[in-house]
Amino acid sequence: MLKCLLCHRSSEPKLRLPWVLSWQPLERPVVCQACWQTFTPIMTSQACPSCGRAQTQRSLCHDCQRWPQQAFYNQALFTYNEAMQAYFEQYKFKGDYRLRAVFRAVLMARLASLQPAIVVPIPVTANTMVTRGFNQVTGWLSDGENSGWLKTKHQTKAVPQSQKKRQARLLTPQPFELTGAGPDLTAKTVVLVDDVYTTGRTIRHAADLILENGAKSVIGLTLAR
């Protein structure tokens, strides 16, 4: 019996033949079909090659034409729609840490396909760690902790990104720093993982920092765009 993490209804998961034949370990679905279908996956073949936004064809979107060329591009798994907004409301803002399981498998699968040398999640502030109690990105990937070597400079965010207008967000100064404890980045491909790509300001700041410290290229991977 499956109890959906999102709508709390019970349903019987169906065993489909290709999956049975694939000999994969039994991974129990955590959300029901109906809820899963409210999320809209983005086809990489029809997304902006720079930010991962869903489009009708694979060409630079109008937002990305304004960014300087960089050894960075972003991939996003889902369109940021109403269902995704509701998900973040419950997971990140209400703090229902159980919901990390909803996207764990798809994110891990995409991450594996990128074959990165180094994976680093965007960190949350020290204050978020004591109020929310977890990093929403590493919740999906591992244990909800911040990474050791990419850090936020400040204890708190002055104004949450989500409450700023686009212009103000683009002017946000570099919020991250590297501690000495990190791996050698020289000539490596690094995957940066974040929850949502909105203006791209946050993740591009982190990418700049990593590129300045010797990485060959940085790929962003976000759940939503």
């Binding site: 703090g95 229902d96 840490y97 204050n127 109020t131 977890f134 909800g144 902790e145």
Partner: protein, 448 residues
Amino acid sequence: MQASELYGRQLALTPLEAQDLPAATQKFVALRVTANRLQCQRCGSVLNRQAAQLPRDQFYCYDCLNLGRVSTLTSLYHISEPNDFPKVDQLTWQGQLTDQQASCAAMIQTKFEAHQRQLLWAVTGAGKTEMLFPGLAWALAQGWRVAIASPRVDVCLELHPRLQAAFANLEIALLHGRQITPYRYCQLTICTTHQLLRFRAAFDVLIVDEVDAFPFAANPRLGYAVEQALKPVSALLYLTATPSQDLLRQVRQHELGLSYLPLRFHQQLLPPIRVTLQPRYWERLKKGKLPWPLRPWLADYANRGQRFLIFVPRVAQLAVVQAAIQQVYPGLKGLTVHASDPERLAKVQAMRNLDVQYLVTTTILERGVTFPGIDVIVLGADDPIFSTAALVQIAGRVGRSKARPTGLVRFICRSYARPVKRAIRQIKLVNRKGRRLRAEMPVVSPLE
């Protein structure tokens, strides 16, 4: 934060949020963690360790999240209730109670004065809100803090203006999940039972209305909420038209007193339920035919112009039933309506305005909505979707006007399901009380 926001409350705050609280604030553990047990101290849920886990050996409660998260990163903050209320002229209501309502009201007040716990079993249409007024006025005049809670938001939304009209000089707080206005400290609070979880030892009197409505019966946390919100010395009044087995058990175990109000405001009994077994009613309807005895009943309604409601278990059945009726009696005018029907209000209004003679509906019209002088038919009353409480409420739609205080309540089922039997028994029981009451007239009979 103002001190009054914490009077009789328990708010889950992080140390950061709790920095500048008034000196009188007490702090309690929000989530109790022992070697083999994890319990939320706000909602009482015993939590699954794995599901409640946060990083760094912290835990959170996933059962009362929508009230703001309780976790080991928070504590509950509280200031004991000071009953700091301005004196105002309370009851401005000018209405009249019937003799029976008045003596029931007097009984309620006596129970408040004696700090007792009571279940008032009042039939649908007894006028129970008005009967609360004298007791409420008395309690408020003592400077007591009072709450009226219901599991249903719509009951709260309906009660608030009625009480505000009755106590015009009093500020009454209304609390529910969809609230956007900030909390205010008031002597009288109307709230959903879920919101009671935010209170601690606050109320001298707590009234829980429609106690058996979904989801109270199915939600064990609400019993916990009631106990938390009440002061150690306090009065508790449960109001219901259809008591659950659990409440009746509490009565038998003398944890709760019981009073009946078995007569409606017009002194009439509840119409009894009549059951017809018809195993093949649905097969007939699907073929566009009216099964016996629906056909003769509708023939009679078509003839006399008698208005009626037909209840069906599922939304998908509405159109089928409607089509069969129209096929056989094209002259009968009616509509179908269900809970998430966008035209629901307009259709109910059309029925009120006598524009149509009948509605085919799901359970949504069971409470609150009244059409004077109607009959009711329940198709498939044995379907598990109809609880005892729902069936009694549906029966209670009939006979609510002084002009036509009687009417027919007829069920068509495949078999006598347990809720059907219980509904019949409950109505028989209160009617027996009601008959005795009309004969002797001391109004409220204690449980023998």
